[in-house]
Amino acid sequence: MKCDRRSFLKLAGSSAACLSLTQLGVSLSPVRAYAADLKIDGAKEVFTVCPFCSVSCYAIGYVKNGKLVSVEGDPDYPINEGALCAKGAAMFTMTTSHHRVQKPMYRAPYSDKWEEKSWDWVIERIARRVKDTRDKEFVTRNKAGQTVNRIESMFLLGTSHASNEECALTHQFARGLGIVHMDHQARVCHSSTVAALGESFGRGAMTNHWIDIKNADSILIMGSNAAEHHPISFKWVLKAKDKGATVMHVDPKFSRTSARSDFHVPLRSGTDIAFLGGMIKFILDNEKYFKPYVVDYTNASLIVGKDFGFKDGLFTGYDPKTRTYDKSKWDLELDSKGVPKRDKSLKHPRCVFQLLKKHYSRYSLDKVASTTGVSEKNLLRVYEAYTATGTGTKAGTILYALGWTQHTVGVQNIRSSGIIQLLLGNIGIAGGGINALRGEPNVQGSTDHAMLYHILPGYMAMPRGDWGSYDEYNKANTPISNDPQSANWWQHKPKYFASLLKAWYGDSATEKNGFGYEWLPKVDKGEDYSYLFLFDRMYRGEITGGFFMGLNPMNSVPNTNKIRKAMDNLDWVVCSELHNSETTDNWHRPGADPKKIKTEFFLLPSAHRLEKTGSVTNSGRWLLWHAQSIKPQFKARPFGEMYVPILNKIRALYEKEGGALPEAVLKLDWPKAYDPEDLCQRINGRFTRDVVYKGKKYKKDQQVPSFAALADDGSTSSLNWLYSGSWTEEDGNKSLRRDPSQTKMQAKIGLYPNWSWCWPVNRRILYNRASVDLNGKPFNPDKAVIEWKNGKWVGDVPDGGWPPLASGKGKLPFIMHQHGMGHLFGPGRQDGPFPEHYEPAETPVDKNLFSKQLHSPCYKFVTSAPDVLAAPADPKYPIVLTTYSLTEHWCGGGETRNVPNLLEAEPQLYVEMSPELAKEKGIRNGEGVYIESARGRVEAIAMVTIRMRPLKVHGRIIHEIGMPYCFGWTTPGSGDSTNRLTPSVGDPNTTIPEFKACCVNIRKADKLTELAT
């Protein structure tokens, strides 16, 4: 354009929303054009990462004069390529919203108002409350007389909203104080993933990564609504579809995912194991499995001991009193050297393969159809399409999320898919794997940094009372293998554990004092400190105070009516939040009298993602750095700048006053001020003295080059061994890498090894040595992940660098497992080595077609008065309810409901129901309804839709309805917590609650009080 645009732009102003009259009549040559300056002209561009699902799209914050003027997707980032979903697109108004909590706020006991306070004031007061509680209620010994050094009456919950650095820091904060009730969103979203994928393959994470989905020939989306909850994933799903992949969606509801899939198959919530068990039987009956893979890389050929058995829905070793199994009954048979016995012909009647066949022989099409509500035709349609990938040259991937995880059989749902993928040879290959779609802004990182009661950073067990010393801990937790073909990687655990303790206690951790092991809190063997049990204890008045960071349990924990009452029993609580939420403001919730609520509330204004520096880890384990675009607005602070000074204040009090086990607090190597870069380096780990490693000299305080350099002699420290190698002397901060270069082989599958860094050791596809044959040649040369060429591996970083197995010097590919093989038989889980169908804790049927055992014999529950369940097939609650998220709101909605542009798109709580059910109940679309369970009642607006189908189950019609759970009373007129309906029951392995299936009834509302009309 040749015209002098700028001269008339001056007149037009810079707003793009509307053109000015002054532009009219200006005759321009050669063409008439109308354009104004852009608000982003001349702005500084700062890279940030979207703070929602774990696709973790990169975005650019545009900053002018210290002010944010716009946010857009980063076009260079190979995963989102500039794209964002509705939530990501709203980042500008989200960040600049004045609705945010702007100053530290305080609510005194029995008060009916918030008061503004200074940071100094709240930090001082919080420190005092923490110290007093700790000193008064510290438990030195448990009932068994074991030293436990813990504080049970104080909790810390949260958060996946924190950066890796903040997670590492707050974990140290909690353990330093002796907190055992520590948990966060990962417990209620994907804890079952870690347990299931860990059992199946050795590591509990998404096996592949977002871009790799494009390499699939077949995509089964089940228990996930990927297009809505991980919208950018569909970029890669559709790329696969463009190349001919079949995309199948199996889910109770026809959703935006179904709309873009080749076909959708509705099934009844809570029957996934029946569905998948039928697929396992189909694979075995029709020999669809990839035999060389099954024989060489899975435990199909191992012989199980004579004690193992399965009868009437129970495995051997069950104790009905404790609702647990004696897992020793499932032990493998070992030879004289302690190596598992194998029958590679797979014919031994007690080999895993034969046991698997026997177990799933009961999963006939008719029983599966009758249980799931899926027609036999539709079952076969999925089975045939998906199992066609078991050839070695085709790839099938499974995408799942909370539709599988949030069940009393959550772990076993995912285990079923693990078995399928191992049988088909789909693990370790490009376009394969089990892609656990993690859903929170840094939930992979917060899980790795283990903001969870039962583990320490890097997936090491939480110390227990019966492991009294550092040596006992290591003895109990370090597996041994006598098989020369097994890498048994966890044999190195003591090095990682010692390095963690060195990072936590610095110079105070010595070989002599077990690196400070004594100061750590210890849990009781078999005791559960997760959400469900914490809130039950709170309800019973056993909890004094604690911390909620970026977490809204008063909306997102089952049986919310109970949970809200439970919170009233706290003496004090600290909430770090962006907005007032159902949790921060629980003291004046509808129906509560503030004058009767004793709790002292501290509300700390949190900084938004664009205001923070640090790293997050996406679902595919990529480490991503986000820089601060603008300074925290108002008086907000990053979590790090809250928890560092709070603990420093507590430490000052202990210095001065002494108290309960002051060493645990005072010996911590704790920073004076929050410095994300320093912490990120400390996560990677440092040498604590001058060391020569692999012929290279490293000085004290220099970065370790990888976890192979970590040692158990106190010469290294690392806040998380998995992240060792992420920030090295040689290459600096690798999460900043933005180099798209790839070899031809890497480019073929979109590996991007030079873009950012991923754990472990930048290996992009886990278990990739299972993608090659015994000679190191790829089963599928077209989409090779690695290949043994000229005496070395090329492609991805191999999962263990040993030469191919045929060389005689090789190791089996599943190196994190004691025996090196993928687990078809998974003897480590609480509820059985093979997944078995059990009905949800609340079910519309009163019998199980597969066995006499109706429910999981091991599922967990709590027993306070409000924890009631409907009886099986209870006529009062005949309808199945499933709950879910939606694109426009994030989880409990505490953040997105306060973004007006997002609330505009999804304004009110609705219930999706079929026209058939609506007719039966006399409900019309758009009308207010009540949904009632044995625990509570919720108002919603009826959304009558053909996308919900009545299902034929056990020969009769069963209706299922679905509701989001993102609405809450602090957004007036939008509705209130759906979780007032859901039950406090959980998976026996991880206590993830069963949000996805319970029983309710529905009727037309007489009057709406929660919803604007």
């Binding site: 509307c18 000015s20 509705a86 297009a227 919208p231 505009e904 798109a905 758009g926 009826a942 053909i946």
Partner: protein, 261 residues
């Protein structure tokens, strides 16, 4: 289907208007576009409700605060659910009836950027009376123009004309995750549209391009237009040629009019 014309007659040859291709077979209705549009243009939120509505389509219709709206429409076809998403916006007609109508009353209130082809509602549109606005709206074959009752200004998609002049993609196109939206030189987009159509037709034999010869925003539909939205294609003719149709025809080059009329 005739899509060979790369720029309308009367334009200088070196001027190549821009064109959107909206491939609904790829749209997941994530509403990134709807939100990105609001954010870029700084448009305030409307108060919306599910009560009495019961649909994911929110707000219910285009309005002065929503230049882009993803429409949701569902129906059963041989017992299979079809859920169609239609990211609705101004089509930036080659010769725009709204501009033709507006020019009758106030020339220059509605303008066309001759470089990009964008049809733009200026501040001057506030001078239209309500009745004149109704005529302008009526003239639009796609029911796009909206009026801000407070200011009187007419509003609709701007094609992010400012961005386009700077070589940037419109906000909605840039944000789109799945490639449902493409934007570029008209010739390229028409070529892409034909290619995509050929591919999509294998699965959906009735797939079509909506009014590709007449508009700068071409929709690829996999289902009958009425299964998306009443105005997915230019409003259907009544028994006799109505005003809207007439204007739409008028807007076309003479040869085409004689050919089809």
């Amino acid at each position: 289907m005739q899509t060979g014309r790369v720029f309308p007659p009367g334009r200088k040859e070196n001027v190549m208007p821009k064109t959107f291709l909206i491939d609904t077979s790829r749209c997941t209705a994530c509403r990134g576009c709807q939100l990105a549009c609001k954010e870029w243009h700084g448009l305030p939120a409307n108060k919306t409700k599910q009560f009495g509505w019961g649909s994911h389509q929110n707000p219910q219709d285009l309005n002065p605060n929503n230049y882009k709206l993803v429409r949701f429409s569902e129906h059963l076809e041989d017992d299979v659910v079809r859920w169609n998403f239609f990211p609705d916006q101004c089509r930036h007609c080659e010769v725009a009836p709204c501009k033709e109508t507006g020019d009758l009353y106030r020339e220059g209130a509605i303008v066309q950027d001759e470089k990009t082809g964008a049809i733009l509602y200026t501040d001057g549109t506030r001078k239209f009376s309500k009745e004149q606005f109704e005529e302008i709206r009526e003239s639009c074959p796609y029911n796009i123009p909206r009026r801000n009752e407070k200011t009187g200004i007419l509003s609709k998609c701007t094609m992010c004309n400012d961005r386009v002049h700077k070589g940037m993609l419109p906000s909605c196109v840039k944000v789109c995750p799945t490639g449902a939206m493409a934007f570029g030189e008209r010739g390229e987009m028409l070529k892409l549209a034909e290619e995509r159509l050929a591919t999509v037709k294998k699965r959906f034999p009735n797939a079509m391009l909506a009014d590709p010869d007449d508009v700068m925003v071409i929709y690829l539909l996999t289902d009958a237009p009425e299964n998306y939205h009443s105005f997915a294609v230019a409003a259907a003719p009544q028994s006799t040629m109505d005003r809207k149709r007439f204007l739409a025809k008028l807007a076309r080059p003479v040869t085409r009019m004689t050919e089809k009329a």
